[in-house]
Symmetry: C2
Subunit: 455 residues, 2 copies
């Protein structure tokens, strides 16, 4: 038994970044992971989906290059090779996380850890002690109690979908959130007939509704059933009730259950320890402190965000406050409203901050402008005039402060970090107008939006 | 003869944005353009090259999709169709500029304008007067006095290269700046055997030398001759002297002269008007004022920057100071060091601010960190571990202020505007570390660089 400065329970993005930062700060750190380093994101989430989505976009571009002057003959998908590329990517990056922990001097133990209370974690029969414990146990897919969903080999979750042996001719996706949409777009590009069934009136409820609607219309080859509630699954047949109460069904070869993920709060001793939970997950403050002394929680297990980069930042916040009791006074607190999101569908969407509705609900005199994709010369040069694309800027009409930005179209995910800087720096529309964007870029849509504000 | 609030001479990016902004501010504006609206950038510069480069990247991706699981059969280029797509793009965007001017209430005259002095511009025999004149006459390609270059049908400039009737089997490019590099990358992707001859020790002298070297090595299919001075051209044979004084030559079907562009300061009356010139162009201050009262100059003609987005900003600065004599006190002055640049080669590069050397020369205790592309999960998922990619951060070691950023790799051009915000907001490395980037993105390389600083 060794005494550590910090024990980190869980090697996903929140846990591994915390361990790495602590190691570089010369702390003696134990990182415990039951499975592969990298967690959901790297092993069965963000990374493998992006490897596949990029391959699918390459296929899509090869298929439709004729108008650009690129003729590609007979274009086909080699799913086995696509899976191999994905597996290579994941293996390389998992290795990279291991190497980074080693370089930081972190002790990594593979095993299923149990939290035994403040300063105590056991793994493989040994109990380790520490001044601090960071809980980063992640999340698991939700399998809702829909009749016929359990023990149905045709119903799989996102992890199963990533490992599927062939491209299904017909795919039904239950849930129109990020996970459902990315898989819908992926398999639609690869030729599947895709149907999405979503309970709410619009897909991607975290997204500005106007842009969500444009994204939905832009997802070629995907049929959407909104306001629909799945009532049962029989083999590959998904029965659902429509908004007006009618009963419908869709036939599929594979049914992807993508209704969400929930914090992994069971099985690792949390219940017995007196840790405070809400319905969402482990309760934390803006420094990532739990109710127990020296016990911190970061990432999906907090239920505050299921995004890997939010987990990174939570890990960093916990580390900053472990290393320096005054860190929170120096700005090292979670600012939930400056966390961007990205959806890697074709077309992509990304955003940050308030939607117009949310800004009004928060008391702002919120207004917005939306500019179309064809306002960008590069967008037109690469996609033509009619491809889905937009930038929407939400601002406070009294102060002109920028409150939110959403972008739909190519490169959206790569340009949105600039909007994080805009929100972190609390720029207003006038400030944003003075920022010089390189020409020609799709990112200039954000500048066009700032200039379209009537101020 | 009509009296205007403002006459704008030249309808390129600097001129057309100035006219548009003035029109929206209810000013009575005359915009004079001898050729197509949009200037060099839209007609024979940034836009047509980006249309072709995107098409060439599509071809490149289709050719090399096998490892990703995309098999594309016989892939071929239809140059005529590629040119058609380019022409459609340009036509659509030129139309868009015209529509924007019309919407802003700007009077557009097609003709060759002559500046007759403060407040006076003639076109087609009529003299118009105005309170202010904005000179935006642009630039022209430099054709250096190399023996055999003039009146040689095999030697063409960038405008000629864009209109070339077929893809040359062998292309020699004289000049390794942005224009030369983009054409070199374009035709290398399309199968030409490309040789670049550059006088300086490294390509892209405006770029951080370390990243420029990586870009050079990453440009597949392009042979570089650095430190080489062209001594003569005979048909398609380019003779040059190497650094050690040896005489060499390269045989090509087409020779692209891409040694630069110079301000268009002749033929429109500038000489007679008493306008002050330097060797670079029309002399302006940081409000874009010339030495003559009520006469402003923006864009390439100032010789301060040949970038379209710099011209936009110069146009906006002139407009802000025309509309409000106090605008400069409100921050409406050119900040030359916060103008980003982008090179749309394959791979792309983009940057902003100081290189390490330039920062030292400016008196900073400058240090830098460089992180490789494989530090980004998305980069690896899309390109593998070995593709060229990097982010370099230059900072002041005393204050930790961010002084410069350069990115090499996919999406570089679309992510760099965020660095404009970082520099405009004068963030330091600690601030940048707190910015949340979406995961997984290539833009995260910038965050990795901030965390790699030993501070």
């Amino acid at each position: 038994m060794t005494h550590y400065d910090v024990i980190v329970l869980g090697g996903g993005p929140g846990g591994y970044i915390a361990a790495e930062r602590l190691g570089h700060a010369k702390k003696n750190v134990l990182l415990i992971e039951a499975d592969s380093l990298g967690g959901t994101c790297l092993n069965v989430g963000c990374i493998p989906t992006k490897a596949l989505l990029n391959a699918a976009k390459t296929y899509e571009h090869a298929l439709h290059g004729t108008q650009l002057g690129v003729n590609a003959g007979e274009v086909s998908v080699d799913w086995t090779q696509m899976q191999k590329w994905k597996a290579q990517t994941v293996a390389a990056l998992v290795g990279g996380v291991g190497a980074a922990e080693k370089k930081a001097g972190v002790t990594v133990v593979k095993g299923y850890g149990t939290f035994e209370g403040p300063g105590r974690v056991s793994v493989d029969g040994a109990t380790h002690t520490a001044d601090h414990v960071i809980l980063a146990t992640g999340s698991v897919p939700v399998m809702p109690p829909i009749p016929g969903a359990q023990d149905n080999p045709q119903v799989i979750d996102s992890t199963g979908m990533l490992a599927i042996e062939s491209i299904p001719a017909r795919l039904a996706v239950i849930g129109g959130g990020v996970i459902g949409l990315e898989f819908a777009s992926l398999f639609a590009m690869l030729g599947s007939e895709v149907t999405v069934i979503e309970m709410l009136p619009e897909i991607a409820p975290f997204m500005d509704a106007e842009i969500a609607g444009q994204l939905r219309k832009g997802l070629d080859g995907v049929t959407f059933n909104l306001n629909c509630k799945v009532t049962g699954i029989d083999g590959g047949t998904v029965a659902f009730t429509t908004a007006d109460g009618a009963q419908q069904s869709v036939e599929a070869d594979v049914v992807l259950m993508a209704v969400g993920r929930r914090p992994a709060v069971q099985g690792w001793g949390a219940e017995a320890s007196g840790l405070e939970f809400s319905g969402k997950g482990v309760v934390v403050d803006d420094r990532m402190r739990t109710n127990l002394p020296g016990v911190w929680a970061v990432g999906d297990v907090t239920g505050r965000s299921l995004l890997a980069h939010a987990a990174y930042r939570m890990g960093e916040i916990a580390v900053a406050n472990i290393l320096d009791a005054d860190a929170h006074r120096k700005g090292e607190v979670m600012r939930w409203n400056t966390i961007p999101w990205a959806v890697y569908t074709n077309p992509e969407a990304a955003g940050i901050g308030y939607s117009e509705e949310a800004a009004r609900a928060a008391g702002h005199n919120a207004k917005s402008v939306t500019v179309p994709g064809y306002m960008s010369g590069r967008f037109v040069a690469e996609n033509g005039l009619k491809a889905p694309g937009a930038a929407k800027l939400v601002y406070d009409a009294d102060t002109l402060q920028v409150l939110g930005l959403t972008v739909l179209g190519s490169y959206a995910s790569e340009m949105i970090w600039g909007a994080s800087v805009v929100l972190e720096s609390e720029l207003n529309v006038t400030d944003l107008r003075q920022v010089v964007f390189p020409h020609p870029t799709v990112s200039e849509l954000i500048r066009e939006a700032a200039w379209a504000v009537n101020a």
